[in-house]
Every structure is written in C-alpha cells, then in structure tokens.
Symmetry: C3
Subunit: 350 residues, 3 copies
C-alpha cells in the first residue's frame, strides 16, 4: 500500500490539520485495531476514551474534540474516513490492465466490447453481448447472449449473467452472484407440475451493488428491476418480477417473493422474508428476520412475525415477558373472589 | 422473438377464438404490464377490471367472460397461458447446437456422452461421467468423476456436480447450484472436532428442477434423494441423507437438516427450517419462516416457531394481540374485587 | 470401493472382534440402510432393536451388548465408525495426482506453489499467490493475487478466494464458497449512498472447514478471522470484521453481521441471525432460527426472537399456549365478581 503525509490526506478529503502534518500514514483502521503508522477516526462520542489508548498515528475527528495526537478536523468524520480509505484502495486498473483480454477468455465474435474493457482468465462472453467503456470482467465471469452492460461496471469472479440482462453504469456485482436465473413458476395441474417458461429479463440500474452468491430471478414475462443506487448484501434472493426501487438497502439473506415491489430508500434487515404481490412503501424499514405478509405503508417501521408496526411488536414482546406476573395476579384474584364468595354465603347463612 | 396470429396460438393451446383471429401477436405478458401486440390472460375475477385498461392486443380467458378485444376461450386460462408462453420461449438448441463441444471444454476421454450432448465453454467433465441424449451443459458447468446424467438434462452455468451423483431425465439445474458437497458431519471428541468422511452420494430423479445457488449435500453413507417432479427454489439447503419425495415444492432459502424425510406433494414456504431426523407427511404444508422441530402428520398445515398446526398458531397470534385488553380487564377486576373487600370489611365493622 | 476383512478393520480402529473376523466388508452404512457385505454401528440404546433387522454383515458396538452377528467392540462406537468410514473414503491423491497442473489452468508465473500441489482444469491462480505442500485446487477454483494457502488445503470446484486472503493448514473449502468478498459498507449521506472501500482481508486458521456457497466478507480495514478448527456449514453469511473463534460450529444458513465476535466452542443452530457489534461468549449455544440482538454470556443457551435464555424462551412459549385457559379464567372471574357486586347492591337495597 502507498504512504502519504497527513497533510496530503487532509487536502484530499477537505479537512484541516491539527499538529504535525508531516507524519507518514501507510494505512487506515478502526480506532481499536489501528497500529503505528495508521490513520483512524472518531465519529461517536462514546468511542472518545479509545483516543487515549489507540496506537494510531493520527485521527480524523469533528470540530471541538480535544486531542493531543496529529489530527484532521472535518464536518463528518465517517464520510471523511471513507474518502481517506479510498486513497489506500488498490486500483483495479493496475491489476487488470484496461483493454486486455486474457487468452483463455472465450469471447464471441459478435460481442461488442468497448476497447478498454478487461476480460479475465476463463471468462465467457456470448453472442451479441455489449459492454461499455471502463468495465472489467474478473476471472471466471460468464455473460450470456444478448446481455448489455454499461460503463465502469465491475463483475467479480464466477458471476453468471444470464441472457438478455440489462445492467447500468458503475454497477458492482460480487463473486458468485447469479443474475437472471429462471423464476420459480409452476402450475400444479391434473397432469402433475408444469413449468411456466420464464421469458422475461433482469434490469439493474446505475450504481447498484449486488452481493456475493445473490440470486436475482428473471421475470416470467416483462422485467425484474433493481433501481439505481440500491445495495444488496450477500445471499439475498429476489424472485421474478420483483421491483426494488432507487436507493433501497437489502441486508444479507433477505428473501423477496415474486411480484413484490420495494419502494425507494427502503431498508430491509438481514434474513427478513416478504411474501409475493405486496408493496413496501418508500422509506419503510423492515426489521431483521421479520416475516412480512402484507403491504407496508411508506415510512412505517415493522418487525416480527407476522410483521407489525415495530412499536406494537415490541409491546407484544414486553407483554409476553409479563405473562408470568399476569398469571400470578389472576391466581391471587381468584383466591380473593373465592373468599368473598364464601363470606357472602356465610352472611346469607346467618 | 417470433410473431404468430391469434388463431395459430389458439390452435396450439386448444382454445377457441373470439373476434379477429388474424391479429399479430409478438409477445406475452401480465394484464397490467402487457403492451400493444402482446397476448395476456385473465384467470381471477378480481383482475376483470384490468380488462378495460390493458394495452394487450388479445386475452386468454375462461368461458362466459364478457370481452370486446380479440380473445381465446379455454377451460384453464392459467395453464393455457403457460402453454402460449412456451411458443415464445427461445429454443436452447438454436443457441447451443446439439453435439457441439466447445474447444475450451475439458472432457475426459473416459466420459461417455451421447452424440447430441452440448458441452459449453470452459466446462469440465471428468473420468467415467455418463450423459444421456439431448442433454446440455452450459458454460462453466463442472461434472466430477463417475456422475451419471440422464436424457434431456439442462445444467446451467457454473453448476458443480460432485463425484458419483446420479441425475435422472429432464432435470434442470439452475446456475451456481452445488450437488453433492460434503455433508456437515463432525464428532466433538476429547481430541477436538473430527470430520466424519461423507462417502455417500446424491440421487436426483426425473423432472426435478433445482434453483440457483442451491446446496444439496451428499449422504454420509447411502444416498440423499430428491424424488421425481420435486421443485426446489434458489438458495435452499438440503443436508446429508435427506429425502424429498415426489412432487414436493421447496420455496427459496428453505433449510432441511440431515436425515429428515419430506413426503410426497409437500409444500414448504420460503425460509422455513426443519431440524434433522424428522418426517413431514404427504401433502403437508409448512408455512414460510416456520421452525419445524417435530414430525408433521400427512395433510397437516403448520406455521410459526416452534411450528404448530396453523389454526392454533393463528389463534396464538390473535391472542397475543389481545394481551393489552386482557391486562386492562385484569386491572378492572382487581379494582372491583378490592372495592368488594373494603365493603365487606365495612359491613363487618358495622 | 475396496474390500477388507472385519479383523483388518478392527485392527485399524483399535477394536476387538466378536465372531468371524474373516467376513468380507465392502462398505459402511447406517443400521437401517445397510446391505449385505456392509459394516454398520450401534451407538444409541434405542437403536438396539434394529440389530435384529439389519442386513449388515457386521456391527461396531460398545461393551456389553448382546449380539449374534460378527462385531467389533470399541469404547466409542460413533468415533470408531467414523474411523472405519475413512478406510472406504476415496483418496483424492489417486484422482488428482500430486504435482499435476492441468494444461487449462491459468497459473501466474509469480505464484509460488509447492511442487506437489495439484491444480485442476480451468482453475485460476493469480500473481503472488503462495500454496503449501500437499494442497489441492479442484477444477474451476479461483485464487486471486497475493493470497497465501497453507499445507494440505483442499479447495473444491468453483471456490473464489479473493486477493490477500490468508488460509492455514488442512483447511477444506466446499464448492462455490466465496472468501473475501467486499463487506457491506455504505454511508447514506446528502449526496446519496457512498461505498466505503473494503481494504482488509480474511484470515482462516488451521483445520477449518467452510461449506458450499458460504460467503465470508473481507474486513473494511483489518481482518475477518475464522479461528482454528471452526466448522461452517453451507450458505452461511459472515460479515466484515467478524471473528469466529476456535472450535465453534455454525450450522447452515446462519448470518453473522459485521464486527460481531463469536467465542470459542460456540454452537449456532441453522438459520440463526446475529446483529453486528455483539459478543457471543465461549461455549454459548444459540438455537436454530434465533434472532440475537444482544451479547450472550459464556456458556449461556439462548433461543427465539429476540433471543433469550432458552429456559425463559420455552416458558414463554408454554405460557402463550396457555393463553386460552387464562382468558377463560378471566371471564369466569368477571362473571363471579359481577355476581358479588349485584348481591352487594341488593344487600344495600335491603
């Protein structure tokens, strides 16, 4: 990795140096793990005590924090740190030279690749595929007939892009993901289970990132669409004809059943599952492991199974925890009522 | 895609034309998404209003539905539409010519492939593999030593079929699936964790479909078996020595632990998990996200965690939702009992 | 498979023959599935009745069990059977000859492989990779630049090992696993969603086994670490900067969010999910499908969502099941209190 002076980094991320700007920074790390020569950051007040203990050589922090080590002061330490990390990121273009096609790659003569596209070892690019400038196919990537990839796309090893997929600019697809597999469409009839051919396709818009070993099924007819800037974590399942709209975030192992629509800037926690044919409104938030069986209004926060408004779900959990005390009260009341009844009977007897 | 007259399609799917049979159909689509030139279908009464709005040029529907646009009348519109879709499906044989073996494919000289088998780019077929007529290995498929595949099998890109797997006729395996990985067998002993070698195999019977990135583990000893006509969605996990019997349907991200047996025509909802060594009876239905800890009788419908009969699970959920009102009633009763007690005390005092 | 006499097997696994030691054994199997010529085992008393019915030709069992067929008596039948199975396991070295590199493999001239490393068809080994003696890369494996693999490592087909991963001795990685994919690091800012570069790496220590299609993300900065002897089942998701310590077992489809630490000898049941930034103590046990939202002390057993001590979670489930009877009691009490109140009123009226 490269080495920079603190002053150079401050200049790159638009911050102001406190202390010695000439200190040499050869890496970046979290405040607890950082070593001598590394730059770290402080973005939460409760981490302030670690400032005393960290082995880092410098820190990125907000205005008004007392500090003795060299520092860069910025408005948003978390965003600034992410920018600093970019300085230490390896440039893929030095590893995979633009325009190079590995001799072991199998590229159809009818595919149209921009001249600076890199195609890695043992990749396969079929007939009629189009790939825009600056894109990079790492080793073992497979792009089937008629798919179109935009500019600046990164396809990691062993990704499969099935036929007629459409992928926008600057999309990143992590290793092992499958784009455009057949949707799960069957009809149970008197003659058994009949497959419904899946003849639609997948559309992935600009600036989307797709995680490792994710599956996104092609539409039965029409399109399965992932909107611009959406981020999808590893091992997520997206059924046929699903729409995930702009800027939504799906955590690992989420499952979305067929024809469900996810609005804009929705967040879905890990392992949550959604039935088919429902709509999650814009900016809604679905809790981890939630089981969503109905549409969710915009802005709503839901959790649990079956998913309910989070406030209500939490109240249920709290009340379940109080069940033993309910039971005790019920027993106590029963005893007291029985006593009253006995007394009443006695009165009557008198 | 090809173009057909409506009359030709009606003839192919065994329906009767209403209106202009000469209208040209160049695609198929759902009633809401369909465009000019496309054929759609109406199979549920509550979708009837869309008939007024659809841009489709023709519709498949049942007897007795009023319609002004050209139509095909059939007994079962859903099944008929699936058949119509097949007319527009790309024929894999035109893309992957029967009998062709891509020069980059690595095929053992001891493998025995029917003459019309297609083997795609960068595929690997090891020693002693047998593949029946009409089968097709797409690019990057890997079939290890001694596996036997039947006739008309389609293996999508990057599927791995481990050694000695046995796969029937007309099986479809979607991209990235792993058939025959080692079962998860370990023994914690005084010397640490010891691996139990997994020397069994996987048997997949005729007409099964396996989803993308599915994992089916080989048996410890003996066989892990997927019965004929079973359909398994993406990212499902099948442990060693599991049996999934004929015609069962497993939705996405289901997990079946080792040695569990799934009967015939069982349906298991998405993300459901089953412990090992239990039996799910024929035609049982396991709800999405259910956690099944015990055997389930034939025909039973179960849901929730731990899974219970669905009627009971729903009652529990309903009663949990009524806990706040229980609590209120309990408080009210307590107040009234206290009042009665005070009154009684007063009476005694008098 | 090979054939051995029972006496030979007894000698190999350190047991004592009962009956005819010359019986020929050509395989191993469970007591219910075993066929003529096979060796089985009895490790639980409740399986003893199967001894009468089994078709096996011999059995491994503990001291003091009455048996009429040829047998091997040992201290721990389960461990002894696992050792017997090893005798019938195929030796990978006969299939993949040490030192052979398939001509279709793409191996960088700057990679340093021990002389006896096997590299399979269509594999890719990039610049600067190091692989220790006795290791084996099966067909389609991909190891990116600068990764270091130890001795006796087995990499199954289509595994992807991303750049700068460090992998210990005797590690086994099942097919389709992805080691070192980018962590899921994004910041929502006023200019949209910004990717945080993931420049750390993955460290897998000695004797770890990783399941099929597992995803282990590289650290944002620093390391994601899997401790020695840990065993991870299929389709598990491990987020960036997670630590799984020595000897822990993660069942299939488990999800661990970023920066969470799993202690030593922890067991996590299938489909359980853990939020980020928590710590699971040594020897803790997390139930299948549990949703863990807080740190868990050492030795604790937790289950349910949100995960609680198992005893408590079970009590909750039991009490939820008793809700209908609570309600009945509550109604009964209400009726009786109303009666008492009426009576009181009447008394006052008198």
């Amino acid at each position: 990795m490269p080495t920079y002076t603190l002053a150079f980094i401050a200049d790159q991320i638009g911050g102001r140096v406190l202390g010695n700007g000439e200190v040499a920074i050869r890496g970046v790390s979290g405040i607890q793990e950082a070593q001598d020569g590394e730059l770290t950051f402080l973005h939460r007040e409760d981490y302030a005590p670690y400032l005393q203990e960290t082995k880092a050589s410098a820190v990125i922090l907000g205005e008004g924090v007392a500090v003795t080590m060299p520092a860069i002061v910025v408005d948003n330490p978390q965003v600034a740190f992410a920018q600093a990390v970019q300085l230490f990121e390896e440039d893929l273009k030095t590893v995979y030279p633009p325009g190079e096609r590995h001799p072991s790659a199998v590229i159809s003569t009818t595919a149209r690749l921009a001249s600076d596209v890199y195609v890695g070892a043992n990749s396969v690019v079929e007939d009629g595929v189009e790939i825009g400038p600056g894109s990079c196919l790492l080793p073992g990537a497979i792009v089937l007939r008629g798919s179109r990839l935009g500019a600046g796309v990164t396809i990691h090893p062993r990704v499969v892009i099935r036929e007629r997929s459409v992928i926008g600019d600057r999309v990143i697809i992590q290793a092992g993901a499958v784009i455009g597999s057949d949707g799960f469409g069957f009809i149970r009839s008197s003659e058994g289970i009949q497959k419904v051919p899946q003849i639609g396709h997948v559309l992935i818009e600009d600036d989307v990132e797709i995680g490792a070993n994710v599956c996104i099924d092609r539409a039965a007819t029409g399109v399965t669409r992932i909107g611009a800037h959406a981020k999808i974590d590893n091992l997520v399942q997206i059924g046929h004809n699903v729409v995930v709209d702009e800027g939504s975030i799906l955590c690992a192992q989420v499952g979305i059943s067929g024809s469900t629509t996810i609005g804009r800037e929705v967040t879905i926690g890990g392992q949550a599952g959604l039935v088919g044919h429902i709509r999650i409104g814009d900016k809604a938030n679905v809790g981890a492991q939630a089981g969503v069986t109905r549409s969710v209004p915009s802005g709503e926060v839901v959790s649990g199974y079956p998913a309910r408004p989070h406030r209500q779900a939490r109240r249920y959990f709290a009340e379940i925890a109080r069940l033993p005390s309910f039971l005790e009260k019920l027993r106590d009341l029963a005893t007291r009522v029985a006593k009253l009844e006995t007394k009443g009977d006695k009165s009557e007897d008198e």
